[in-house]
Symmetry: C2
Subunit: 342 residues, 2 copies
């Protein structure tokens, strides 16, 4: 597993301690290669107490900043930590890449270095939302801002494979994000995608609305990368604004402060449940390999959880399964009998 | 003011008591015409104790169901309560319409009966989000699912006029909803709209992201009706899922229940602040008239607050101001000096 040691808002201490925590979670199963500037990584590693096995450093002299354009990273930063991560993956030296750096650059480098998986038109970034009933995969959340109906249908297949293989959903229910439950509702592309998905072999639930994302039984929500990215950030902003408001109101008087003290354990359990830290990474699906992109503000726990999901993705060979899923879809489009089965 | 008495999930008792509560809030200033089936409205009115003045009933024999298609309502339900509301408005017998019924049908009937305001290409439904700093107008939230860049720019002008005239924002800051702060970020239409808005005389803040909607200083957030509607419903769903989780966790043990009792006043203040009830209606901007569309699940308080906003819109002649705003924008496009000023 290659971890971009340089790419997190919290700096090297976050990535290194995330790696150490993942090693504790998966003793003997995991090797982490910390990719970055040795002069930054080494001191942190000795400070935190590196184990004798399972962790190593691979030097990379450059760092991608949050403001770097993906195209310029690709052209000019050949020795950036995220580039070296994917070079290692391509060379077969690691099975997966985890990065909390510039997500646009990570996606671009990942797609270019690893290449698209067979049968895949457009890789997609999937995010895992904690739901009331079960986690929900929502994709695309930012890799493709202008999508065709056929791309959306492919996302449905990719998300379905991921929910089944990595999240353990038996026959994942796939919903299409729209603005009304009936098939005729939505914009032009979504209305066409509805027909594609309805005709497919997926377990298609039809349209779902914004309010269903957190509470319905669907395991996969399909949308274009613009809408998905807005949803992701809106949810983050809303919860943080709401928590701020709760705090302001509660701390205004003694009664509130006493109540808050009593409720501390309950809110801790809640935070644990809702926190994206438990699904710390967004898988980049449809490339020839396994890559997880973490939030820039990731905690060590979020990094460790992304590493755990990446291991599960490697074990289930999710990239191959995604290709098979899309091959099946192409077969359906041609009206041929399924050429592959599970 | 015409109120569609039949259009609320909670039935006639909700709309009638909303009207009575609005009358109490604005004594002497307000007359409400309850439009609907007299045999349903009258008993409710006497049960709740109708005041001697300020309220009357206008008979409408048909009711629009939530499942009715807007086009079929327009063609076949000429005596539906929502249709009669707009007929009254068009005839000048009322100054505004408030409805918590089928929102698609309300928009369609409102646009057809009232007509577009001068200079307006496409009316838009605007929703008012309670923000951390101040209320934010987000539009479009469902009237136009496929938008051009020029439509988005017009929404910016309409939202700016509304924020200034009705919400009292001095020089409303307008943001364009996208997936990155820089102007080059977003889908094709949004990138073009950025250029339109940047070249305009609006107080344009550039792109805003989903996470800024609740916390930034912008008073107006521009997006297409598909994205806006998804955002609206996602926010609703997220808060309701979150509150359910809070309840579950808090009520699990005695300590939690005691804490909850202490925090009751704080959470009541909070609910009061966040609740969409305080901005109970979404204005339909760009028609020749004033119309507010309320959530189907509206409470009497939400109805009353929508009536209050509608009064403010009438007093400030927001429909005329919207036309003037768009005339100004057209002037800018032609490179002419401003032909109208405040």
């Amino acid at each position: 597993m290659a971890l971009d040691a340089m790419g997190a808002d919290g700096g090297v201490s976050v990535t290194v301690s995330g790696a150490l925590s993942a090693l504790k979670d998966h003793p003997g199963d995991l090797e982490v290669v910390l990719v970055g500037k040795p002069e930054a990584v080494e001191p942190e590693l000795s400070r935190l107490g590196a184990p004798e096995e399972g962790i190593s450093i691979k030097s990379a002299s450059e760092v991608v900043r949050m403001t770097d354009a993906p195209s310029s990273v690709l052209r000019h930063k050949r020795d950036a930590s995220i580039r070296v991560c994917f070079d290692l993956h391509r060379a077969g030296e690691v099975d997966a890449v985890v990065s909390a750096g510039n997500s646009g650059a990570t996606m671009a480098v990942g797609m270019v270095v690893m290449g698209r998986a067979p049968e895949v038109d457009r890789p997609a970034l999937a995010s895992i939302f904690p739901g009331l009933l079960s986690p929900t995969v929502i994709l695309d959340v930012g890799a493709n801002v202008d999508c065709t109906a056929s791309m959306l249908a492919q996302f449905g297949f990719m998300g379905s494979v991921y929910a089944r293989e990595v999240l353990g959903a038996k026959s994942p229910l796939v919903g299409l994000l729209s603005i009304g439950e009936e098939g005729g509702k939505g914009n032009l592309v979504v209305r066409q995608a509805y027909e594609h998905l309805k005709a497919s072999s997926l377990n298609f639930a039809g349209n779902v609305e914004g309010r269903d994302v957190f509470s319905s039984e669907v395991s996969v929500v399909v949308c274009d990368g613009f809408v998905g990215n807005v949803c992701l950030k809106l949810s983050e902003g809303l919860l943080s604004a709401y928590n701020q408001l709760v705090k302001n109101e509660v701390m205004r008087d003694l009664r509130g402060r006493a109540g808050a003290m009593l409720l501390k354990p309950a809110f801790k359990r809640l935070a644990n449940r809702m926190d994206y830290e438990n699904f710390g990474g967004a898988p980049l699906l449809g490339i020839n390999g396994v890559a997880y992109i973490c939030h820039g503000a990731s905690s060590p726990k979020a990094i460790a959880s992304a590493i755990g999901l990446a291991m599960e993705s490697v074990n289930t060979q999710v990239d191959k399964r995604v290709s098979e899923g899309l091959a099946q879809y192409r077969g359906e489009l041609l009206g041929e009998p399924e050429t592959k089965s599970e």
